[in-house]
Amino acid sequence: MTTHALLLPILATLASGCVHMTSISTTSVPVDRGQRVEAEAERFMFMWMNFNNDYVYQLTEDLAEQCPDGRVEGILTKQERIIYFPVVAHAVRVSAGGFCVKPVVEEAPMGPEPVKSEVAPDAGETGEAVPAVPDADGAKE
């Protein structure tokens, strides 16, 4: 057996399980970082054969499901290329992680709002004379 024939299986074994990043992106990070949400989509490829990329749509759906009443912010998205075994078995993994931010709901005051009185204050309180109000016939009191 030649040296090359020995070297190739060794290199192939070493290269198995290698992960390389191919893309990265982020969105604005919120102040509220209390609830973390994460999702991942992976496509295994035999000899690099792949017929569609629709698996990535699952990623956004998974993130949205984890934050039904809020908004996902601060999303770090990574795309990685995984080598399970050189030439034969590969995969592409897309992962995204962010924070679920719930909208701030302003609490409504309990009970009906106090109504501002439109009636002129009583003369006794202010000390001013109450103007004469005409009655239905037009005669002043």
């Binding site: 070493l14 290698c18 990043m21 969105t27 604005s28 990070v29 102040v31």
Partner: protein, 104 residues
């Protein structure tokens, strides 16, 4: 044979001089005041790779965490993410650099 020697000399001589930018991404801007009132923060993480043998990409998450941790209680917006590789002899260094604006 002479050509091969030249190639080898060029390869060794060129080590450390080549850098490749793979991704340059800018996030959304969510500003509530003038950008000049924000604090500029940045973070960097590296990964040294020998002959391509590497098992994870956690260094990218590290860069992101370092950026966030510089802005506790504030919002980080307008994040520019740069992913590049600096080449060496039979090895290379992956670099993720992030720069953003902290509201606090």
């Amino acid at each position: 044979m002479n050509g091969m020697r030249w190639m080898l000399v060029m390869a060794i001589g060129g080590v450390g001089c080549t850098h490749a930018v793979h991704v340059n991404h800018t996030s959304d801007f969510q500003t509530t005041k003038a950008l000049s009132e924000y604090r500029v923060i940045d973070a960097r993480a590296e990964q040294h790779v020998l002959l391509g043998f590497v098992g994870d990409t956690h260094y990218a998450n590290d860069a992101y965490l370092r950026l966030m941790n510089q802005c506790e209680g504030g919002q980080v917006t307008g994040i520019q993410t740069r992913y590049s590789t600096s080449h060496s002899f039979f090895s290379w260094t992956n670099v993720v650099e992030m720069k953003g604006y902290c509201s606090k």
